[in-house]
Amino acid sequence: MKNFKQKLVVIGNGTAGARVVEEILKRVPGRFDISMFGAEPYGNYNRILLSNVLNQTQEPQEIFLNPLSWYKENSIHLHAGIKAFKIDRERRVVLGVNVPQGQLPYAHNDDILPKSDIVEESYDHVIIATGSRPFVPPMEGFGAPGTFLFRTIDDCSAIAQYARDCRKAAVIGGGLLGLEAARGLLTHNVEVTVIEAAAQLMAAQLDQESGQLLRRTMESMGLRVLTGTKTAKIHSRDGQISSLSFADGTTLETDMVIVSAGIRPITEVAQNSRIAVNKGIVCDDQMRTSDADIFVLGECAEHRGKLYGLVDPIWEQARVLADVITEKNPQATYTGSKTGTKLKVMGVELLSLGEKEQGQPSDEVVTYREPNRAIYKKLIIRDDRIYGAILLGDTQGGDLLMQMFLNEERLPSKRSELFFGSVKNAILINVADLPDNAQICNCNGVCKKEITDAILDANCKTVAAVGKKTKAGKGCGSCRGLIAQLIESCLGEVTYDPSEHFYVPGIPLEKSQLVAEVKSRGLKSVSAVFQELAGGKEDPDSKVGLASLLKTIWPKEYVDERDARFINDRVHANIQKDGTFSVVPRIYGGVTSPEELMRIAQAAMKYKVKMVKITGGQRIDLLGVRKEDLPSIWKDLGMPSGHAYTKAFRTCKSCVGTDFCRYGVGDSIALAQKIERRFQGIESPHKMKLATAGCPRNCSEAYVKDIGAVAIEGGQWEIYVGGAAGSSVRKGDLLCTVNSHDDVLKYIGRFIQYYREHAKYLERTYGFAERIGIEILKGILVQDSLGICAQLDERIAEAVEAYRDPWQEAEFPAYPHQFEGPRLIEVLHEAENNG
């Protein structure tokens, strides 16, 4: 059968290769017979998310953009795991060969002269998208087992696998990728040192001051940083890495090495085919190489003397290339890209745009510094437009700055508004007013028109649905706020989708954004939040979460609307499956008295409770109480509420400790009682169960509590956070070791407040501690890296002070009919119907 289709061969199945094919298919589905060579044995994945894979916040399978089925569906013949080595321009065929087992897909082998198994594809057009390979600076010893590069999904798994048996890792290179790799390694429980030859970190994007500040931030996370240090040799002993020696003669012990010191374009295919190559494969404004039938894009391309190392330029290049090759617009031109850089390191906010230093005396430089919180912001303005910007420590508003930079928008005359928003809190740019071709998602190169089309034509009502359709918002995620705004401007509202990262489903904001809005607008009640931020629509699934958050934000001024509470919190008892309630009085530290026990027994008999049960939290549960009886049983008990029904501090168990136990080295009972008296009833994103133990034998199971304090020899206490022994089991992470009960209370309070302010709704401490990372928590809560400890201490003290025992409502109900049960309506009232 003869094939009349034009044959297109794409070399390189990465970001650029897959993207250009998508663009072509969009324009002329079915016109080309497409085959692709990919040296990696997979479909295309989102390379920029490899950092997340390494830091274990994403699974490898989550980052695939084009699974193998995509190639099938689009009749693309994918040669996965096969490397093209030459384009035979006489015979018009591309030649490829299997990547040998154990060889890196990006290995440099110009001696490739395979004898067998050559794969051939004939072509009418070729697109080269071979990307780049990591650059290894001259040093001895690289290539030994235990040395790695960081470019592919396989690199990630190899690094993670090897790190398991290591205590120390060194990352050579203190740029964007090096830092992401280093942060990722921290999650594998190794000590990490970053080694940078230049005098500062991220020298390409940061000025000296921000470089210095970034260094401090990275150090507070537990990374070691050496600058001005050139690695001369990697030493191995018995097949394992032992140390590094540096140009200045000093050394560093390490068990593994990752080199991330820049990238170099992969150009051999072009070279072997006698296509013009300078630093990269040279192309014109139509993305054509020196051979008019052969195109190039991505990191391997050199356009107007420039090479790019980010995804952003690829989107525009792919559009132009597709326009030209499909002849939809043979005159389409690519004129170069402006780029911004975002550091995706967990716990560090950093955005850098354009130039890092003033270029001429007339450039206006605006800076803002907050050294205590490690915040630094600098804008360099030329002709009323952004010429350069650095935002470190706080990138709020960064996506708008990025938009203004890319679209070269004129800046507002009050420069401060660029950092802090305007006084009226008006949004600086309205996304709705942006031009159709304004790029909204910079990670996946999605412009406004594609998003509005998805919303209006494809009926995407949620940020997730838009993401599914267009990939917008599926990279670093920072544009999701803009997408939500676009949905809102097109449809009037954003539909709830539980897969979103909204704090509550009914309000399209993540927690930090929501808190900022609530504070700046002074919203003190749940109904006010709905009014201001949800156009008056009261989403029932959002009420309870909002109520908890507002109480955290406004400990004293919170306007408590009881309808926003879950039934348990309206009546301070836990609803049971038969509609009755359970009553758990507070028993501080699990220590009670005969008098209390007698009152409990009498109450249990008087109200005919269905069961009396000793709970897992060292207290006593009276089950099967009717709502109407709640106030009187509380009065009879004469004990405060144990908060067994709510998302709050629940209990602090204790062991018998020094009072009686022959092993005890610390007074665990007194401590548990102090803890419980101080933090009782403090609301939080999820419940908190605590324990104290008098020695590391840990009878009270303090290691697996949300927060646990364990006495150790020498009068000290270890504080563990993020433990769990429910559906998940996790040993807590050691936050710090302190010398007194008072210090235990101080650090526990700090952690609780930080958790209250930064956890997602219904995120338990174990998820929270894992998400943030114990090293970062230590930095923030113990070393005070952000300078916020004093404020945390103050705010938790306020919350403690605002505590009232809810069972006092037995005497003074919060509202009429609070504890009334069903009302029997007598038939008598049926009268008026013939009235």
């Binding site: 629509k537 009420k543 069903p822």
Partner: protein
């Protein structure tokens, strides 16, 4: 059962806290009556078709009530539940001079 075309006076509307519900027993049948923040009142059967949770104790909003036991949601206008095949009876109800009148 409530007789045909009958009206039942349930008493003053302010016996239901704003934004909450309350259970009334009429002819032995439990009816959950809700009073929204905007002042509208609604009535549905109190008994959740899932496992009998008391809907009158649920959080309401956007024309729906969320069952306090397992979070299934029910629409005040249609009675339709969030889970396929679950539905509650809806009653006609109105206010007159601050009094709640249930009709059927």
């Amino acid at each position: 059962m409530i007789g045909q075309n009958s009206k039942v006076l349930l008493g003053p509307v302010d016996q239901i806290p704003v934004g909450q519900g309350r259970c009334f027993v009429v002819h032995g049948r439990e009816i959950a009556v809700f009073r929204s923040r905007s002042g509208t009142i609604f009535a549905v059967e109190n008994h959740c078709p899932h496992r009998g949770g008391p809907l009158s104790e649920g959080v309401i909003g956007d024309g729906k009530v969320v069952c306090p036991l397992h979070g299934h949601k029910f629409d005040f206008q249609t009675g339709q539940g969030s889970e396929a095949g679950e539905c509650v009876a809806v009653f006609k109800i109105r206010q007159e001079q601050g009094q709640i009148i249930l009709e059927k």
